[in-house]
Subunit: 363 residues, 2 copies
Amino acid sequence: MVASDETAQSGLDTKLGDTCSRTAFGWAKKSFGNRAGRMGFPIFKAEGGFSNLMDFGGLRLAMTSDGVGTKVEVAERLGVYDTLGYDLVAMTCDDLAAAGVEPVNLSNILDVDRLDERVVDALMRGLHAAAEVAGIAVVGGEIAELGERIGGWGSGMHFNWCATAIGVLPADQEPLDGSAVAPGQAVVALRSRGLRSNGYSLARRLLAQAHGPDWHGVPSGDGRSWGEALLTPSLIYCPLITELRRRGVPLTGVAHITGGGIADNFARVLALRGLGAALDDVFPPQPFVLALQALGGVPEAQAYQLWNMGNGMLFTLPAEAAPEACAIAAAQGYQARIAGAVTAEPTIVLDTRGCQPGRLLHR
Amino acid sequence: MVASDETAQSGLDTKLGDTCSRTAFGWAKKSFGNRAGRMGFPIFKAEGGFSNLMDFGGLRLAMTSDGVGTKVEVAERLGVYDTLGYDLVAMTCDDLAAAGVEPVNLSNILDVDRLDERVVDALMRGLHAAAEVAGIAVVGGEIAELGERIGGWGSGMHFNWCATAIGVLPADQEPLDGSAVAPGQAVVALRSRGLRSNGYSLARRLLAQAHGPDWHGVPSGDGRSWGEALLTPSLIYCPLITELRRRGVPLTGVAHITGGGIADNFARVLALRGLGAALDDVFPPQPFVLALQALGGVPEAQAYQLWNMGNGMLFTLPAEAAPEACAIAAAQGYQARIAGAVTAEPTIVLDTRGCQPGRLLHR
């Protein structure tokens, strides 16, 4: 629930983030009963947990909120605003996809210090393009002028951008709550093309330390400036997950790799059944991410906790179905590969592909 | 769509806000086709306009986003955080109620500079209390640590807080799109108890000019400090609107009085049929709002554009049904009264009740 990369470097602050998330969720849960017997009542799992679905007279909907975080600063540095929409749609809709839910509608909130119509136009043009990729309709929006409550880089319009997406669990499908994950199932990884919208505070700090305050114009080594590399728009995975499920590919779990990295996010898929995984063939990070890791001497464990390291989504399914899933992904333009397998032992064993490849254990 | 009170004082900037809203909505509209023939397709009115409803296989849902704006600064000044939840729920759910939609679920996003668990707990406790009043379940939330991108007053945790609410249009009811408003119908006003969550930038500026930087501790004249008066939590009207409709009271239009005041917000109810209204008996503003207006010498027209001036919601219905509606409201603890009538002439004539009572015309 708490998205922070600043704090993830200190055990104490990560704990504070977790505490605040638990506090918020504790209060939220007390409100579920307000809809008892009526539209919008949260659906509980057999095990008693909250499934993140609500019942609307048989129709099952989900609702999730997120923002693009401090990636906005990179856009401000470059004066390029028409790609953040991909990040906003990816952060929200791919969280729905991770529950097996097809994203349908999105409403966004743009908090600004003051308005610049050119910037608003570029942001919304990008959101429109990303909505087309995700197959969703943008049905709501709010622009709030908050003056000095919003800060940022340089002298242009500063802003923070978040959204809420809602989606539908198709009538003939089960939610992906981890109950069908089993040892021996394959783990398929989907490649990412950059940092998506997580881990920017560390990335910016490392680049400022190495290259000074105007780091964004310095060549990253892959033909782009550091600013351009960091602004790489998020791939949107939800149409692929929807298509795989529509075609009857028997997905059993999906993890959207956000803050916390592969291990934390994939652990949620495995938790219900107390399982683990051996991930011995994940995608390597993009060259610019490797360069960034090397630049800061970031230990493998930290890099894999703060960044997706080339793997934006993982999903599980019976091993015999994995090749077809990879083929469908490839046909849709995604890079997919079998990255490992689910294990009975409740530990995620990750063979890393960063600057100092090694083995990380996550219990 | 643009919520700003800073800019409303300058014609040029209000125009910029409107332009940005139109730009954003223009791009959003182009995405509606992404759901053609599928769940979540926006429902269009007979006249071609967007009704703010989406079709989910016959079930009609609505979705809206808003935030508490710069009222947060008042909470920061007082160190009182458990009432803003009422404002957050009112701003979102009462917008749904204005479309005749019953609010059902809410997801919130809290952007912070750094975390303070005590503050998060108080905010979420308040949100829980407000959700109970509105009869909604809080089913999602995100806390984002954004460091220096968030500013505020004093040395505590600074934050901006927004939410998205979804709701259902009951199967046996028509949306309140203005098509059933007719001349001669009554206009009922619901009393507010403060500024709700609009007009705070002007209020804060006037108080700082009159009382200096620590204005929040100065007595307001009603037994409370100015800070306490300004923090007055919003009344939540949606349960009353839902109840009136459930009982068959034939409401034809509902206006939630937010930025733009009575005239702008009520005009939207009247626009479709090209009607007007004579509002000769609205509620007077609360004494502290009158004092604030006097303090700043704020002209009647401006006060009624930036503040709700004692009237947080207006609704229209056949005149013969108005007394029953007022009685139901009173039984539920709301103050309601017949404030005027719908007219064939397309002008809103408002007899004001501020410091310099007069007559405002709005075409």
